[in-house]
Subunit: 141 residues, 2 copies
DNA sequence: TCTAAACTTGACCATTTTGGTCAGGTATGT
DNA sequence: ACATACCTGACCAAAATGGTCAAGTTTAGA
């Protein structure tokens, strides 16, 4: 059970962005340098963040990215959703008429995995970008 | 972020085992049939569970596996640990002298991932095999 | 004592996912 | 016009996943 780097990088980059974008648009190049994430990879990630209206892009010289919402309104849930970081505990397809094993009924531990998913998602829903900013005031990179 | 099938299968198999082992040792073949998990794969999993003293094996005809502890004392944590299902949110090595990015300091979101790990592990520590047995009394497979 | 049931071990492998790179664009401020 | 920065999509190596296969060893019971 692990977090993919896409999810991690997305959050790191957004925290970085949030710290600077009230002055100027922030270029991916800067984020790349500060956070040690490959520029090409960042572009993939920001393309998705933009589609999900988490950031806005400003093209041209001196361009870059800006947050599209208040940091308080950007939850981890939104970020992860944007970059396809899903919490996936069960194989069982929900749409499927059949049960989890190809049998008629729900698999023996189905309720457990559902609970776990909810438990994790709750964490993500209650955490906003703003929380992370405050959290890092003292221990800046 | 997803659960591996090894972890899921381990829990499913143990719940199955716990339901029957007070009568006789339970053969992997039976579990395989009931839960729809490949026998060969189950053998890999039970080998690990045995090393971690979660189950005992009884060889020979009419043999099989038995729980080695009270269901109440087998936490999900123990099971996952046995089959190497780890909760891994951070790349950063804890032993490393250096920081997370190869830089000197902790990465910008380090605290967040630590929190998340704790959040998930807490869930696993508070859940025992016994909880799952009760949970399934009504919705048996 | 023979044999079948069941555990034991370890090698092997195809597929998928991950974590990117590379090579081209296109838009825009100066 | 040109440098800066966004944009897009193809491509790829390596690792993890989710197993299978083969060849044992042990023991209960006929």
């Amino acid at each position: 059970m692990k977090l993919t780097s896409k999810g991690r990088y997305a959050v790191m980059a957004l925290v970085d962005l949030a710290r600077f974008d009230n002055i100027n648009p922030v270029s991916l190049r800067d984020i790349s340098l500060r956070q040690g994430i490959s520029l090409d990879y960042l572009e993939q990630i920001f393309s998705k963040l933009k589609k999900n209206e988490i950031v806005k892009s400003i093209r041209g010289t001196q361009g870059g990215y800006v947050l599209n919402k208040n940091p308080n309104d950007i939850k981890l849930t939104n970020i992860f959703h944007a970059v396809d970081e899903k919490v996936k505990t069960v194989q069982c397809k929900k749409e499927s008429k059949k049960g989890c094993n190809g049998k008629a009924t729900k698999c023996i531990t189905h309720n457990l995995w559902d609970e776990l998913e909810i438990h994790i998602n709750t964490f993500f829903e209650n955490k906003s970008l703003k929380d992370l900013l405050n959290n890092n005031k003292d221990t800046r990179v």
